[in-house]
Symmetry: C2
Subunit: 112 residues, 2 copies
DNA sequence: CGTGTAAGGAATTCTGACACG
DNA sequence: CGTGTAAGGAATTCTGACACG
């Protein structure tokens, strides 16, 4: 469970590299954080660390802004999408819980 | 063809983060490069950039050194493994070439 | 051989602010 | 609102060298 591809979500990329990867300015990247659209981690010294997923998200954000969408709107969209995702996960887990209650806990497909 | 997971091989991690991820010292990381065991790219300013694959390789290298294997030996092992891989790829491609010559160029499984 | 360290300099990143609009 | 920029400082990284063994 929680099967992310491991590399994609690890926060290991500094802002300079993100700038290279996205073509955005550091100012833009920091501003989107200020507007709560992106959430880098920090090194001990205080430098920002981003994931590949963050890099892709940044590009999407920048595209929307270019289309005239305001950061506030983008944030609302993201929260909505996030909420929908959470709902789905809860639903999945409840169904799984029902199955477990009915047929007992199993890992993987039933052995034949 | 060339189906790498994209994130794993992209050189985007600076040496400080690699130090955090591996537990190795920067001195060690740079030394393994000097011994031709690892090949980071560079930013415009000259800072080293590593991939996740590099990070994993560094850990393997450090383990072997701890076991008393010298960098020179490790390098020979790596070259041998590399050569074997190349052989396999050539073989694969030749077989594919034969198949294409016999049955024409196809992409993916035959349509049913 | 493999690694630690001090040295000096350059590249990188940080924050808060002013500017434009 | 979103972004550029100059400012000053701190964290990061670089190289070449000396040390130990």
């Amino acid at each position: 469970m929680g099967n992310e591809s491991s590399y994609k979500d690890k926060k290991v990329i500094t802002i300079g590299i993100v700038r290279e990867l996205t073509g955005l300015s550091e100012r833009q990247i920091r501003y989107y954080e200020e507007r709560k659209l992106i959430f880098p981690e920090r090194t001990a010294g205080g430098s920002r660390k981003y994931s590949f997923a963050d890099v892709e998200l940044l590009v999407e954000i920048a595209n929307k802004i270019e289309d005239g969408v305001q950061t506030h709107e983008i944030r609302k969209e993201m929260l909505k999408a996030q909420k929908k995702q959470n709902q789905e996960e809860i639903r999945r887990k409840m169904i799984q819980g029902q199955l477990n209650a009915q047929f007992g806990i199993r890992k993987g497909p039933a052995s034949h």
